[in-house]
Symmetry: D3
Subunit: 305 residues, 6 copies
Amino acid sequence: EFVARSVGVCTMMRLPLKSSPEGLDAAFVGVPLDIGTSNRPGTRFGPRRIREESVLLRTINPSTGALPFQSHLVADIGDVNVNLYNLQDSCRLIREAYQKIAAANCIPLTLGGDHTITYPILQALAGKHGPVGLLHVDAHTDTADKALGEKLYHGTPFRRCVEEGLLDCKRVVQIGIRGSSAILNPYKYSRDQGFRVVLAEDCWLKSLVPLMGEVRQQMGKKPIYISFDIDALDPAYAPGTGTPEIAGLTPSQALEIIRGCQGLNVVGCDLVEVAPMYDPSGNTALLAANLLFEMLCVLPKVKTA
Amino acid sequence: EFVARSVGVCTMMRLPLKSSPEGLDAAFVGVPLDIGTSNRPGTRFGPRRIREESVLLRTINPSTGALPFQSHLVADIGDVNVNLYNLQDSCRLIREAYQKIAAANCIPLTLGGDHTITYPILQALAGKHGPVGLLHVDAHTDTADKALGEKLYHGTPFRRCVEEGLLDCKRVVQIGIRGSSAILNPYKYSRDQGFRVVLAEDCWLKSLVPLMGEVRQQMGKKPIYISFDIDALDPAYAPGTGTPEIAGLTPSQALEIIRGCQGLNVVGCDLVEVAPMYDPSGNTALLAANLLFEMLCVLPKVKTA
Amino acid sequence: EFVARSVGVCTMMRLPLKSSPEGLDAAFVGVPLDIGTSNRPGTRFGPRRIREESVLLRTINPSTGALPFQSHLVADIGDVNVNLYNLQDSCRLIREAYQKIAAANCIPLTLGGDHTITYPILQALAGKHGPVGLLHVDAHTDTADKALGEKLYHGTPFRRCVEEGLLDCKRVVQIGIRGSSAILNPYKYSRDQGFRVVLAEDCWLKSLVPLMGEVRQQMGKKPIYISFDIDALDPAYAPGTGTPEIAGLTPSQALEIIRGCQGLNVVGCDLVEVAPMYDPSGNTALLAANLLFEMLCVLPKVKTA
Amino acid sequence: EFVARSVGVCTMMRLPLKSSPEGLDAAFVGVPLDIGTSNRPGTRFGPRRIREESVLLRTINPSTGALPFQSHLVADIGDVNVNLYNLQDSCRLIREAYQKIAAANCIPLTLGGDHTITYPILQALAGKHGPVGLLHVDAHTDTADKALGEKLYHGTPFRRCVEEGLLDCKRVVQIGIRGSSAILNPYKYSRDQGFRVVLAEDCWLKSLVPLMGEVRQQMGKKPIYISFDIDALDPAYAPGTGTPEIAGLTPSQALEIIRGCQGLNVVGCDLVEVAPMYDPSGNTALLAANLLFEMLCVLPKVKTA
Amino acid sequence: EFVARSVGVCTMMRLPLKSSPEGLDAAFVGVPLDIGTSNRPGTRFGPRRIREESVLLRTINPSTGALPFQSHLVADIGDVNVNLYNLQDSCRLIREAYQKIAAANCIPLTLGGDHTITYPILQALAGKHGPVGLLHVDAHTDTADKALGEKLYHGTPFRRCVEEGLLDCKRVVQIGIRGSSAILNPYKYSRDQGFRVVLAEDCWLKSLVPLMGEVRQQMGKKPIYISFDIDALDPAYAPGTGTPEIAGLTPSQALEIIRGCQGLNVVGCDLVEVAPMYDPSGNTALLAANLLFEMLCVLPKVKTA
Amino acid sequence: EFVARSVGVCTMMRLPLKSSPEGLDAAFVGVPLDIGTSNRPGTRFGPRRIREESVLLRTINPSTGALPFQSHLVADIGDVNVNLYNLQDSCRLIREAYQKIAAANCIPLTLGGDHTITYPILQALAGKHGPVGLLHVDAHTDTADKALGEKLYHGTPFRRCVEEGLLDCKRVVQIGIRGSSAILNPYKYSRDQGFRVVLAEDCWLKSLVPLMGEVRQQMGKKPIYISFDIDALDPAYAPGTGTPEIAGLTPSQALEIIRGCQGLNVVGCDLVEVAPMYDPSGNTALLAANLLFEMLCVLPKVKTA
Ligand SMILES: [Mn+2]
Ligand SMILES: [Mn+2]
Ligand SMILES: [Mn+2]
Ligand SMILES: [Mn+2]
Ligand SMILES: [Mn+2]
Ligand SMILES: [Mn+2]
Ligand SMILES: [Mn+2]
Ligand SMILES: [Mn+2]
Ligand SMILES: [Mn+2]
Ligand SMILES: [Mn+2]
Ligand SMILES: [Mn+2]
Ligand SMILES: [Mn+2]
């Protein structure tokens, strides 16, 4: 290490800042939007704080042997500009930005932002790849129809995706789901679509390595997207988020989930719902930065030592 | 004091919670909206936290002799429901709610929320009273035309009001204005309308009692509205806000401004832009609660001892 | 959801605020007292903050199928007034308030407050039901005799209860006990009374479902009270408390404990020792709110889907 | 400076820790009690945090030339033991401790603790010196009769002192008084006793040097006590306190007040109401430590360069 | 504003990030070093947080009419790499970096870091310009000889500069000086060199416009450097710093000081001692960002509207 | 308990403060140094805050039966003076201080401070005992060669120890190791020396009792040193540290590790890397205090009940 950790303008993992995805194999990109948030706001500052804490990361993954930067050209391409006063328009801006990223054959690793953003991201990626498989790690299914009369907010992205045919519903797995509910069977919609719903309580005190073996089987070789809501984890590990639910996953389970995707055809990933103001130590953002690094390490064609 | 300060569900000043403005002379009402915020969000929790800190307030104002609760029937009427995902629709909901308050001849004292809300409030009040005078205390003129392509956000309410003829522009005073600017003459729009713009630097180290004498002259007997953005104060006194500007007003100046309104025909007031997450001590909310109490004390027909 | 989460004066789970327990099957009630605290104060603001975070809760429990609000008439009946300068007098005020609640045949779900309050609550409930069984979840046995010369503080409630015959000692279970001690055998008093003491270290890395099977056997059909000190949980999950002890229970174990009470004759519950100032994220209060909801879900006659 | 500021167990100003006041001219002593607090608790940790921040202080006062440690033998004598569960008993413990300090002819400089403690301190000091003059700096007069039915809490100490004849009422000055009130004329009691009440609003934007000239005249050569409630200052300077009032004094005014006591016959001083949990930066405690140092610098017989 | 404030990797004022000072008229540059700190560390993260909060700034100064970006080519050139384990070596690295900046005829506006850094910066600038005048705004003179046996730390930079002939001592002014002292006459060294020392207490409640008129006279047309320690301000305005002193300057005085430099031959500026961990709201960093912008606005040849 | 927890100057566990190790069997000693820190500073305040939170500890360990204070004469001997501006010199000061402690036959239990300090501590202890076995609990191996050109910082102590022959390399165990890496095989150096490296992922969801059985075998009867870096634990349990790594150990595993050392010939222990500013609740320091108490409980000749 020749540069002190306090030194430098904060890009993700201190990667070069590029203005375009052209020529990149993969790119970190921020979507600093939080106006789809139903409770505590602040995820607009998630990308900024994740970048800041990511200076603790080093480039090699000794646990898996992955050498991402010896395999791929990766950069930080900054943030998508968003319209903080209009959620619909923000979705358009995000979709258009990701269409460009997809067109450049660059795999996006997204720093959220609230979970609304996954909808326009998947519009762009399904535009390129067709309906994708989805590994969705979250406390919530995010398959509501509406809230406060609106079709778009962070509780609805996956229903919108289903309605638009963006998902290959037989290859959708939701892990970490829990919490009280406004309706009797909150998982019915997901299961009716063919999603596998893995409740948090079925994960308590367990290694998720066996589950991920099944998931890999299910996903096969076709494109999948990983959408990781930090609130999947227990609030002890990730206090800085807007709609925390008790009794969630652990970081070791999060690592088992992501590392379990090695070999899959991952076409994009996101880590959403980091709200820094509820995270005075910065450790939620640090966790997010680590999980994004782990996602990078399981992208297709990443070499291992 | 027969009830301990930690006791009870928090209404403003522990007033009774009413579901309607009918029969009330004045009412505290919250507008927990923050999606018009350009920088740090969180004012959606302003009303909640102002109510919480308001338990420190007692009912009489020994500095002015005002006896508001011996003069008026006052209650907390809860919050306007807002649409957190759609700013336009929220403005509609706020306007409709305040039309009902105005129709009940109840003077609203509003707990914000970001400054966008003053626009629909003034739509409602001008609907009843005709164009109103405005005492606007703020670091910013809030007379921008657009941001990010949008006409509605917390930087534009007073331009929208001018355009709709809601203000009696010869009786508009803006106090506390300061800060860097994107344009050469940021006060031109205000002055072109006939507003009086009092810069913060013209207030430094001064009593504002003389200024308020002039303001009372200017306002006369016709209806006026008081809109108080907590960022008018220096961030030392009001850290919990989203777009702080250095070198602002002091709390004693804030008191001089509000107390200087005694005798005016105040038809409504608001205190906006309290963002609790940036205020770990709660003292910004406490300041806001005090200023709202002082506004109550200068409403028409409040008796003094 | 037709009301945004930031909207409204905060009652527990946004329930109606009632001034009396009459006609209610169960009621949330706050006891905002902290002068029985031996270390960090602040639990006087526990009820306020638990109510605030409880807006995240929805009304149905999909994990257990419980439909509490379709089964029972439940409200928030506000706080017991306490005497913040006199612990003895506060105990009297609490006892009298709970005698009224008991007389109304309303099951109290208490938001504490420090653990001292369980003593006057049990005086009231045992006055109605006779000696009750007790499920006591805590890091501490709270069976000291005195501290600083005083018989009343948050370390003594259960010894006082034993002395007054309020407990059916053969049906008392204490779970989560741990920590350093001033005496050689700190569990002796409990065991001498016939209590079952389950140490935290006997819970590490284990599901508590089997334990709760035994507890249900032991409790039988007679009345029991659940007293849940948030410090039973590891401080990682519940930082906001006054006398934390390392290496505690997990939220999933807390859920197993409470859900394991289904079918028992629960006549009252409390959740105590939430000290918000040590909980900047609010997540300790959120955990408490969830546990109180889970307690509601296991009250007698709550229907399940 | 031969010792780094982070080094060492924290005594006040790194003075030696003594177990007795014998042989000392003056002593810092803590009273870590907060159960007389009406709103936010936490002053029990005031002495601890004031000591911690006092490591920034050096031994000479260049502004006044005072050389306290070349004039007097001064030490930290630790804390008075208090009964955290019984305010009456705590008052007895404090009184007895200060009787010993007074008997040793040692001038106490007290680190509070809530303001209740000044009552037993004055019992002890008036026991030695007879009725004392009082310079009371505070947002509140602290002359209530009762609250919640109790005669003892932090709002009543000076009425209790009057009733017991501990004060030379013609030589009592209260500075910084302000805030809303439960009664019509909240200053009447003080003025009826002959106290001079200086409102905060009469201090705004003014040097207090002239006022202190008058105060010195009034106090004459007879014994006086200085009781400084940190809430006399504006909450911007002293956020860490339990009952803050807006629009208070400034630190420069606080210095003018204390430095204005030079030449008076000061027989004791206190600095009360520092609540560290509301002061994340530690700067309220630092302010308190500085004010205590300044009080030391005006004790009788302190030499100046 | 076409870009939302939450968008983008944080450079100072969102300026382009350049890798070299070549071709720039002025540049913001960070020195993220804090191992010269005597008390609370953390200024290593000062540059990062100042950049973050600087997104609130706009490009024009309506108070002075300054149009810095229409006058000069300005960029953010990132941070000097520092050696966090060796203060001597860090000084070398800083000196070498600033020699390059000076050689490029680029005026550095430095984001500190602790005050030690001004010494190597002045080595570099005096190497180009010869001995410079100095406007030093600080609570401390920073002219100690040693601490803990070391010649280099944040209390000694200006004595080191004097010893090496880097300062034109007749044109050195220190403003804001205050606080307790380890020696009898802490200002003697400064005054013996010919410095003007303006104590904070001589600034209380005063406009500093007259003082700055005198300073401009004294500085004349020869090169001057502005070194602004944020602790010159009262801790109410700047809580986030390591060695705060009570009763300091106000932000309006800070603006008067910097704006009073208009017309002087400013060859470099710094803003040091921002320690973000003691500043949960971010407002100390925001103040620092504003002051740096104001310094930019008084650089030679900045046009005014 | 006859003394309230808020009472008294904070020594470790309220032990007497001694100025010398002479005559003591064991002593708590602080090393308030943080200039070897690569990321977030602040461990200089670790000893202070650990002492503060240690007031919650009582003197007996009911889990193991250990009665340390009935077995040994133990005191707090304050802090080693350090040179905050010179890491080399600090190492010298620490080494010399520990040579005196070792010469007094007093076992040091160290409150850190960053991990650099273990190097000079082991220089002193190996000077007395010869090469020692090492139980090193940490997220990091701390066996780097250099950083930023320096041989001394908190990432290198154990390589320095190896080079100087201070360790009995066949009896070195490192537990909890994890995280991204700058080199391909970050554990190679350790294993090449003969260290046993136990990765965190091999500890997930497991009791470490079996591992510790093996460790006891390996350590035998010869002297061992325990060096416990708080970042070995998951950041959920220990947020207050400078270089946190996700997915770490749990407090129950930490207890199993330390309690598993019973019977070994422990000649010294440390608990390092507590950075209080990242720990608003104080619970990291409380955890550290508990672990230090547990280390005391396994010192040779500590009796058990
Ligand atoms: Mn989600
Ligand atoms: Mn979620
Ligand atoms: Mn505004
Ligand atoms: Mn504003
Ligand atoms: Mn308890
Ligand atoms: Mn407990
Ligand atoms: Mn007082
Ligand atoms: Mn007061
Ligand atoms: Mn300085
Ligand atoms: Mn300074
Ligand atoms: Mn380490
Ligand atoms: Mn480590």
